[in-house]
């Protein structure tokens, strides 16, 4: 009994913080998405009305919201595979027996992960500047005409994807590397005795061993990429032609620029629903893969 009380005493502070400042607001967020909470309600709560699913219907008829959804899905669909592919490739290189100076390379490739996103987004903006940017200068050296990276609606999102991949790939690389190091050497030994080439070892030994990690990393990375916000905020302000407005950028403007906290909550709930759906699909697909 004494222990029970002690246990609750230990848990109470954390639980209180999480309950009041996370669980409660999450539930309230769902409730808020069913109201017309706006700047008038902010001034006087009597102006608040329950509107049912009106916000949802309204958002689903708002072209900019669809565009934000499309932009976000584009960022996720291209960014996540690129990011994980690069992580895996880098981990395999670092794990290779012939690789030299491993601690240096590991730290160098991981460094972007710990940098501040806003700061590197600022750096990126100057590197990809049309006239004086290093990237266009380097491309010019090999005969490619300058590109308007952040000013062209077709290029702005790819540029942001490049930044995100550059910044994030080191994280999953570390996870892959730890898992690669956990594969016992005898397994490769056996494969070699059976005459497997290096490539076959990769395909039939390494990748199957990494599969559970790949699934987990895929789901976590996807969830992270759905939360695109700081890059467009700093680099493009959602432009050009709204081509880099993400769902969270839309939510931020709706909620904290126009003070439509009701519709902003609706956007957040819809994003959460979309993330759940995509996670579910990924899990289903990976299960099917295991059975096959």
């Amino acid at each position: 009994m004494r222990l029970q009380i002690a246990a609750w005493g230990f848990i109470a502070p954390a639980l209180l913080v999480i309950g009041v400042f996370f669980f409660l607001p999450v539930l309230a967020g769902v409730a808020l998405s069913l109201t017309d909470f706006d700047i008038y309600a902010l001034a006087d709560l009597h102006n608040l009305r329950f509107v049912g699913l009106d916000n949802y219907l309204h958002l689903l008829r708002t072209p900019l919201f669809w565009q934000a959804l499309g932009n976000t899905l584009y960022f996720v669909a291209v960014g996540v595979p690129l990011s994980i592919g690069l992580s895996l490739g880098a981990a395999l290189l670092l794990h290779a027996k012939v690789a030299r100076f491993k601690p240096f390379f590991r730290t160098a490739l991981f460094a972007p992960v710990v940098t501040t996103l806003v700061a590197v987004a600022v750096v990126w903006r100057y590197l990809f500047q049309t006239r004086y940017g290093m990237v266009n200068y380097a491309l010019g050296q090999i005969g490619i005409n300058p590109l308007d990276w952040l000013g062209d609606p077709h290029l702005a999102m790819p540029t942001i994807i490049l930044l995100a991949v550059w910044k994030n790939f080191g994280y999953n690389m570390m996870i892959f590397l730890a898992n690669l190091q956990a594969v016992p050497e005898e397994v490769y030994e056996a494969a070699r005795i059976d005459g497997a080439t290096t490539f076959q070892q990769l395909l039939y030994v390494t990748l199957p061993m990494l599969k559970p990690t790949l699934i987990l990393v895929g789901i976590l990375t996807t969830a992270g990429y759905f939360q695109l916000f700081a890059e467009p905020y700093v680099m493009t302000q959602g432009g050009p032609l709204r081509s880099t407005v993400s769902v969270l950028y839309f939510m931020y403007e709706e909620g904290f620029k126009w003070w439509n906290l009701g519709t902003a909550s609706t956007a957040a709930v819809l994003l959460f629903g979309l993330m759940l759906a995509v996670t579910w699909v990924l899990m289903r697909a990976s299960k099917r893969g295991v059975d096959a």
Binding site: A6, A14, L15, F37, L109, V118, R125, W166, I175, S265
Partner: protein, 273 residues
């Protein structure tokens, strides 16, 4: 022969990747020492003609950078210390103290990790406004005083503490908090170090919430200040690079010094499946 060919390919690719990873950071550092306007010339210079601290001086003397730096330091330090204590206590209790509903409560907490924090943002803002915490340091600190991920990290690590150790301490008549403070904390110190670095870097680098809750520019943290400076000073690449250096350097230094703990935390945290 084949061996050396493979070695050239592998190491060549690694050098290429390291170059891509480090170039933007080194370029940022180099441009931050250039005189105003120097970077906007063709061909774009790689190194400053005559290195100068003028951009840093401008930022600190007139741009209020010291204030933002102090805000970031203060907020990250307080959040780290408080949340470390709360998460350590809760994580330990979930691992080593039996109580009714323990497993179910823990599973429920873990399940909610998939809820993106943004769903909570609008109501949280209203709640903090009611409490008078919007536009104060408290608006950043209070919601971050405990976290599910931190509790999880500590619990996983504390599970390996043998029960006999706690029994022996209890037989000696030690109180539960005493046991926690003098036996448990030293045992879980490595994971606390990992969690401390994670929390500190996370708080330092956080952008969206401080942007929302700290509207008064005197309270801005470095990322928020940098974002707003970069909107005003689009042409001043040298000064913006200096601002980026000030923002990135502290966390990069912490990471380099405490890399071992950081990686450990990352790996424990990644096996939550």
């Amino acid at each position: 022969m084949r061996q050396s060919f493979a070695s050239v390919i592998v190491n060549g690719l690694l050098i290429g990747l390291a170059f891509v990873s480090l170039f933007p950071l080194l370029w940022m550092l180099s441009v931050s020492f250039m005189s105003p306007g120097e970077a906007s010339s063709l061909p774009p210079p790689l190194l400053p003609e005559s290195p100068t601290l003028a951009n840093y001086r401008e930022l600190f003397v007139r741009g209020g950078m010291l204030r933002y730096l102090m805000n970031s330091l203060l907020l990250a330090t307080i959040v780290t210390l408080v949340s470390l204590l709360f998460n350590a206590m809760a994580g330990y209790a979930f691992a080593k103290l039996q109580f009714a509903g323990q497993q179910r409560l823990f599973k429920a907490l873990i399940a909610t990790l998939i809820i993106p924090g943004q769903v909570a943002m609008m109501p949280l803002f209203l709640l903090l406004k009611q409490m008078g915490l919007v536009n104060t340091y408290g608006g950043v600190i209070v919601p971050a005083m405990a976290g599910i991920f931190g509790i999880f990290l500590v619990r996983q690590y504390a599970l390996s503490i043998p029960d006999e150790m706690l029994e022996a301490a209890r037989l000696d008549g030690a109180g539960e908090f005493r046991i926690f403070a003098s036996i448990i904390v030293p045992l879980i110190a490595p994971i606390l170090a990992s969690l401390a670095i994670f929390t500190f870097l996370g708080c330092w680098n956080d952008f969206m919430w401080p942007l929302i809750v700290l509207t008064d520019s005197r309270l801005h943290t470095l990322p928020v200040a940098l974002a707003s400076l970069s909107r005003e000073h689009v042409q001043d690449s040298e000064m913006m690079m200096a601002g980026s250096v000030v923002t990135v350097l502290p966390v990069l230094a912490i990471f380099l010094a405490l890399q071992k703990y950081y990686i450990r935390g990352l790996l424990v945290g990644s096996v939550k499946g």
